[in-house]
């Protein structure tokens, strides 16, 4: 496989780590909702960020089906229209799989510029679905959500790639 010059070789990703990172993202979303923000329209959706991240880095393991399933759970938790997040996450994962080869040739800050349209698309899709089903526009503040999500992309990338960047042959001088 062709890869950018000078890029570090990564260890294989642990499937359990992928699963728990997705659960943790859902937990952070719920914490933001229940403790900090309530039902603010600009609340960022970190589950979407982590899903896109794994669709880009591990498209063999996390793909459109997983995104759909997590979207359904998100719908039940948020008591929104069942299928609303499932649809937007499906489209999000599809776009992430489409751009996953190109995206890895960029550094993280530039990657976040490239994933911004994806998050915007996901939020616009949710908005359209809700407007069609007869809800009101919740305010322009909701434009902030995809921007926060894109800004968090470099941080999420560093955190979620850290286990794969450990040394392949750890010894007592280099435990990690």
């Amino acid at each position: 496989m062709i890869m950018p010059r000078g890029q570090q070789l990564l260890l294989p990703a642990n499937p359990w780590f992928i699963f728990f990172s997705l659960l943790l993202a859902q937990l952070i979303n719920m914490l933001l909702n229940m403790v900090v923000l309530g039902n603010a329209a600009w609340a960022p959706d970190f589950l979407a960020v982590v899903l896109v991240f794994w669709c880009v880095h591990q498209p063999q393991r996390v793909g459109i089906g997983v995104a759909f399933l997590f979207g359904l759970f998100n719908d039940v938790q948020q008591s929104s229209l069942l299928g609303q997040h499932a649809l937007s996450y499906t489209v999000l994962a599809y776009c992430a799989v489409l751009i996953h080869r190109r995206l890895l040739w960029f550094k993280e800050p530039k990657q976040s510029l490239q994933v911004l349209p994806l998050f915007v698309l996901a939020h616009v899709l949710e908005l359209l679905v809700r407007l069609l089903s007869g809800s009101l526009f919740p305010g322009w503040w909701m434009l902030l959500a995809p921007v926060i999500e894109a800004l968090s992309w470099p941080v999420v990338s560093v955190l979620l790639l850290a286990p794969q960047r450990r040394a392949p042959d750890p010894d007592e001088h280099r435990p990690l």
Binding site: L23, M34, V35, N39, A40, S80, L81, L87
Partner: protein, 305 residues
């Protein structure tokens, strides 16, 4: 370096599975079908209940920080605050003692009058205390989630009130939690009675995007003033009569419309309620309507001669 330590491996030549595009189409169609089933036919309740049960551990976990903060706050709350509260309460009690004496007398009188009129005894509904867990994250609706569900006997369409007034109605019941749609939600409406004039009307939620109620279809010359208290009227067979709903905040009489635009401030604490009461819907206590009796004068088409 042993084998299998590097993540990069060649993609499978023949075993590809479905293409991304066909997956996209499949799951998009599936979610659209689900949305239609949910919004139009309401068929997804069992699926929601199961998934909510699976989500419950996560929900429990994410409510822990708030619980810790609450407990700490309760611990550090001083004795002074408690004493001040006791004083305020005793003052309130004195004020209310006078009134309660009158209430006894009035209710006795009322009882006699009702018996005289051969009316049924005033319906009393059983109540269940619950706690608000959190606001639902969906920014398009105004809902809260309470900690009692089908296992504790909550029924769909039960009215929910706090100590001040009506808060909303249970719209979805899960095994362990239920969702309450607040009166200020756009799709919620509640029959009300103006206590000053006795006029009945229907109040709708979310007037112009604000967390207010709107009393619609009242004529422009209707007798309504700012400060009128609206209570439940009891004609809907859901809410018990006489519970405060809202106070009229603003009355706009416009020349181009036959109806006045009346905005009301909800009385229940729609943004900060913690402890609420779930009442049993009255409809289960009211006897069913008597069968329609055919009058002899009108011929019925196709009926037995």
């Amino acid at each position: 370096m042993p084998l299998g330590t590097i993540d990069r491996k060649p993609p499978a030549f023949f075993k590809h599975g479905m293409s991304a595009l066909s997956k996209l189409v499949l799951f998009a169609i599936l979610s659209v079908l689900l949305m239609v089933a949910d919004a139009r036919y309401g068929m997804t309740q069992p699926l929601r209940a199961t998934m909510s049960l699976l989500l419950y551990p996560l929900e429990w976990l994410s409510l822990r920080p708030r619980w810790v903060i609450d407990e700490a706050g309760r611990f550090f709350e001083g004795r002074d605050a408690a004493q001040a509260q006791v004083q305020a309460m005793s003052l309130k009690l004195q004020q209310q003692a006078l009134r309660s004496g009158q209430v006894e007398q009035l209710s006795l009188e009322n009882q006699q009058l009702r018996r005289l009129l051969d009316l049924r005894e005033r319906l009393s509904s059983s109540a269940l205390a619950a706690e608000v867990l959190y606001d639902s994250a969906d920014p398009f609706t105004r809902k809260v989630v309470i900690d009692k569900g089908a296992l504790q006997g909550v029924q769909p369409s039960s009215p929910v009130m706090d100590d001040v007034g009506v808060l909303g109605q249970v719209t979805r019941v899960m095994p362990l939690v239920s969702e309450v749609t607040l009166v200020i939600d756009r799709e919620q409406s509640i029959p009300v009675l103006n206590t000053r004039t006795g006029a009945r009307g229907v109040a709708y939620g979310e007037a112009g995007g604000a967390p207010l109620l709107e009393l619609r279809y009242m004529a422009a010359n209707a007798d309504i003033e700012v400060g009128d208290l609206l209570t439940t009227s009891g004609v809907d067979a859901i809410y018990p009569p006489g519970v405060p709903v809202a106070v009229v905040l603003k009355v706009e009489r416009r020349a181009e419309s036959v109806f006045a635009r009346i905005l009301c401030q909800p009385q229940g604490r729609v943004y900060g309620a913690r402890h609420v009461m779930v009442l049993e819907p009255l409809g289960r206590q009211v006897p069913p309507r008597p069968p329609h009796e055919r009058s002899g004068t009108l011929p019925i088409k196709g009926g037995p001669r």
